[in-house]
């Protein structure tokens, strides 16, 4: 194959969205053939594709196209590579790659980290990379020893032939000349050394010694730091500004207007902040000057009374509801706007030059950031180099398809001639938009006199996240429905003979974004809460009621049973303690949680959470456990207190005093049990979040008889 043919095939494969992992490797092996790089050691480095380099000094480097934001992906990728290459994953050095089409998502023409799909979309790729490289090393070794590959074996970075051995580094030069374009046979589960066994994270040491470099830690020579006075109301624009006082602050270098506000550029962060504080900006507030959540609530509560765009329609739910007797529910649920509140606030450093640019940023939106920045600078995307840093949390906030923080930093740095790092304070971050959308849902459901299900009709109004992103053209349906709006509602697992699920596109001026588990974050609450109400109506135990409707869902059933078993469901608890249960599938993983809760007035204490998860196969069980703990605690903060509200268009929350999040003394004990069902790999970063709010609310109902139909809980119990 020549290079042109390869490029054509790649394009075709992406265009038809059937790109195959093995083919990618095959193409890349061919593309990189003969381009092996010289290393200091005198020999060549084996670099069969963008992901992998094996140097003569035995350094094995994995160039990750994915960002690390805590989810453990750099370790997960090293496990997949190490398994097939046959080298301890702990010996693999991981670096963050820039943008390359070889890292693009299989179905979307972009390189990004999100959707709980990093393992799902790259695990097989990395295994093929490892297997291919190992085959190249074996082929080279067989030639050196004048034998056949069948006579050789590998073990942790070394090829053995009888008593003779050569390390991968020693073979790298010769292996670089091998050509292997075919897909390699991968190991069976029984042959795994590393996959499925907890491997230590490969970023712990740098993160407990302060050596890990995050976006905010970026320091390049001659760099300035900028802070921006942003609009107090979304959509407001600068009318005029007075920078005379700001320019007097020692260390302030420049003040410039950018599309999002007025930027103060200074020699350090403190000077930038003081300079910004001294700015006087007069704003045209625009149409959101009087904006209040009450307006959204009234609008959505009216819209929810009407049918929406149909996401699922089994049987005739409306007809069945009309003919149902008195054993039915008709309930509405409301969930607030939420901030991601990553521990590291947004930031981005840009060095813009006439002939190119460098961007240093912790981002989930790799190729989108580069394309958006290039457009502002009048450059081609390949003139912009992306230096991905560790992310101090993502949760979706750093996966903005319009690249808000990178775009803004690019505007700030344009024509400055020096690198500029734009820094957001906590207040900037919390009030800067891109929230989990506000939603109102309505569930009507009915059972017969024996408690058997008759009908389920779930409708929801929320701003559509995918339809308002740059990916809209790949996903939004002809009727205007955003399929992401019904993730977690349309896949209702329970055996109602009549099911209808609708979604309604809400419209308001608040910038929104995916927030850990996206629409599942509200549907998980709505579906489980309504199921708990139906169980009570049927006079049945909530676990038994769900079990009775999961006959055809063995994976769901097994996960539910496991969680119930872990919690000793149905057995007496300490006085004043109550259990609540929830079960939710998202990102192809199924999670059940039982929360043990006590309630004292408006104070809710979550003592313990039992969590069962089936993600197909747990590649790194210790990190599956960590992500369940993480998702639960993240979801619990939101359930108990999380809420972004507006008054006169201004966001009312600003820092961790007004946007309360869980602290050590409030964190429940969490037990996690993993079910390796062998099903296709599911995601793990997000599925732990949806079940916790409804599990806690079900327990509150058990404790108090009060239904929580509006989050956060604190507001409903007050």
């Amino acid at each position: 194959m020549n290079a042109d043919t390869n490029a054509g095939r790649r394009h075709f494969l992406i265009g038809t969205a059937v790109i195959g992992a093995g083919l990618v490797i095959g193409i890349n092996v061919a593309r990189r053939r003969g381009t092996a790089t010289r290393s200091g050691g005198g020999g060549k480095t084996l670099s069969p594709n963008v992901w992998l380099r094996i140097a003569p000094d035995d350094t094995v480097t994995l160039a990750s196209g994915k960002a690390e934001m805590g989810q453990g992906i750099t370790t997960g990728l090293a496990i997949a590579l190490g398994e097939e290459l046959d080298i301890d994953p702990a010996r693999i050095v991981v670096e963050f790659a820039g943008v390359d089409k070889a890292y693009y998502h299989p179905f979307l023409p972009a390189q990004f980290t999100g959707g709980s799909n990093s393992t799902v979309t790259t695990h097989e790729v990395l295994r093929q990379v490892g297997a291919t490289a190992r085959a190249m090393l074996l082929a080279a070794a067989a030639k050196k020893w004048d034998t056949t590959v069948a006579e050789l074996r590998t073990d942790n970075g070394v090829v053995h032939y009888g008593s003779r051995k050569l390390s991968y580094g020693e073979l790298a030069d010769a292996a670089a000349g091998e050509v292997l374009a075919t897909k390699q046979k991968l190991k069976t589960q029984a042959e795994f050394k590393y996959i499925g066994k907890t491997q230590p994270r490969n970023d712990t040491r740098v993160k407990v010694t302060g050596r890990a470099k995050f976006g905010l830690d970026v320091d390049v020579p001659d760099m300035l730091t900028a802070m921006i006075a942003r609009a107090p109301v979304f959509g407001a624009t600068v009318k005029s500004f007075d920078d005379s006082e700001a320019r007097k602050i020692q260390g302030v270098v420049a003040v410039k207007q950018v599309p999002s506000g007025v930027a103060v550029l200074a020699e350090n962060t403190w000077a930038a902040q003081r300079g910004r504080d001294a700015l006087k900006v007069d704003w045209n507030l625009g149409p959101m000057a009087r904006f209040d959540v009450a307006q959204v609530r009234a609008d959505y509560r009216a819209k929810i009374r009407k049918p929406g765009l149909i996401a699922r329609n089994d049987g005739d739910a409306l007809q069945a509801l009309q003919s149902a007797g008195s054993r039915s529910i008709d309930v509405e649920y409301e969930l607030p706007f939420l901030a991601h509140a990553t521990m590291e606030p947004m930031n981005c450093a840009v060095h813009a030059r006439a002939d190119g640019a460098d961007i240093w940023v912790g981002t989930q939106g790799h190729s989108l950031d580069v394309e958006n920045a290039a457009e502002i600078l009048g450059l081609k995307a390949d003139q912009v180099r992306l230096h991905v840093q560790y992310l101090g949390g993502g949760f979706g906030r750093r996966a903005n398809t319009v690249s808000d923080f990178t775009v803004e930093a690019t505007h700030v740095a344009k024509d400055v001639g020096r690198p500029v790092k734009t820094v957001w304070t906590r207040e900037d971050d919390m009030q800067g938009g891109y929230y989990r959308p506000f939603s109102v849902s309505r569930v009507r459901a009915a059972i017969d006199k024996d408690g058997k299900p008759l009908a389920w009709y779930h409708n929801c109004v929320s701003q559509p996240v995918l339809a308002t992103s740059a990916f809209a053209k790949f996903a939004v349906l002809p009727d205007g429905r955003d399929p992401s709006s019904s993730e977690g509602s349309a896949n209702l697992p329970y055996a109602f003979p009549n099911i209808r699920v609708d979604s309604i596109n809400g419209v308001n001026g608040v910038p929104i974004l995916w927030w850990r588990s996206v629409a599942n974050s509200f549907h998980g609450f709505v579906v489980n809460s309504a199921m708990d109400e139906l169980a009570a109506l049927a006079g049945m135990d909530p676990v038994k009621f769900r079990r009775s409707l999961l006959g055809k869902r063995p994976r769901h059933l097994a996960v539910l049973d496991r969680a119930a078993e872990m919690a000793n469901w149905g057995r007496p608890l300490a006085p004043g303690h109550y259990h609540g249960v929830a079960l939710h599938e998202s990102f192809d993983s199924i999670v059940a949680q039982v929360a043990e809760v006590s309630v004292d007035g408006a104070e809710v204490k979550v003592h313990k959470v039992h969590c069962a998860v089936d993600c197909g196969t747990a590649v790194n069980p210790g990190q599956v456990e960590a992500q369940m703990q993480s998702g639960i605690i993240f979801g619990l903060s939101a359930a108990l207190w999380g809420e972004i509200t507006f008054k006169d268009g201004r966001v009312q929350q600003s820092n961790f005093d007004s946007y309360r999040v869980l602290r050590m003394s409030e964190a429940p004990a969490i037990e996690v049990s993993i079910i390796n069902s062998g099903a296709a790999l599911g995601g793990i970063g997000e599925p732990g979040t949806p079940p916790i709010a409804p599990a806690v609310c079900a327990a509150i109902f058990a404790a108090t008889g009060k239904r929580i139909r509006k989050l956060p809980i604190a507001g409903s119990l007050a």
């Binding site: 690390e68 934001m69 805590g70 989810q71 453990g72 230590p200 994270r201 970023d203 712990t204 040491r205 740098v206 993160k207 407990v208 010694t209 302060g210 050596r211 890990a212 470099k213 995050f214 905010l216 830690d217 320091d219 730091t225 020692q250 350090n268 962060t269 403190w270 509140a341 990553t342 521990m343 590291e344 606030p345 560790y390 992310l391 101090g392 949390g393 993502g394 949760f395 304070t425 906590r426 210790g622 990190q623 960590a626 703990q629 993480s630 998702g631 605690i633 993240f634 903060s637 820092n655 961790f656 005093d657 999040v661 869980l662 602290r663 050590m664 003394s665 964190a667 004990a669 969490i670």
Partner: protein, 155 residues
């Protein structure tokens, strides 16, 4: 010029007296292991030790620590082998990692004062350090493990 002792070395800083220690460490001394999270002593990400006690660098003017001994995460141990760091590594505590410098330093100060902390002691000492990734269960276990490592080292 303001003189302070950071990680055992005497440093002279050309900083305005009211500049928070956090930005002096990060921007002037290039010690970026100390993190910014809230700027108001609400989250603990900027925790450092002053004469062995944990303080929040984001609300501490650099002039207030003149002549004092400051220890940042970079100076807690030579090779990441402080008992707290060892326990953190052993139990794979970190996720995103942004809050962990502060968590480690808060835990190290706790263990200096209390060699065998109870759950309530841990709650009291660590409640000022927020982690959005929810590493609290592993932090709790790692503090207990670090206490063991430390006690064994002392035997």
């Amino acid at each position: 010029m303001i003189s302070l002792n950071v990680n055992g070395a005497s440093r002279e800083l050309d900083a305005e007296p009211e500049m928070p220690l956090l930005w002096a460490l990060r921007d002037l001394l290039k010690l970026t292991g100390t993190k910014y999270g809230c700027g108001k002593a609400l989250c603990g990400a900027c925790t450092v030790h002053m004469d062995g006690r944990p303080i929040r660098a984001c609300v501490t003017p650099v002039s207030a620590v003149a002549g004092r001994n400051i220890t940042t995460i970079e100076g807690l141990s030579a090779d990441g082998d402080h008992p707290v760091q060892r326990a953190w590594i052993e139990l794979d505590v970190v996720q995103c990692g942004w809050c962990q410098s502060g968590q480690v330093l808060a835990a190290a100060a706790l263990l200096e004062a209390n060699s065998n902390p109870s759950d309530a002691d841990i709650d009291a000492a660590m409640d000022g350090n927020i982690c959005r990734c929810g590493t609290y269960p592993r932090i709790r276990a790692a503090i207990k493990r670090a206490a063991e490592i430390k006690r064994r080292g002392a035997e």
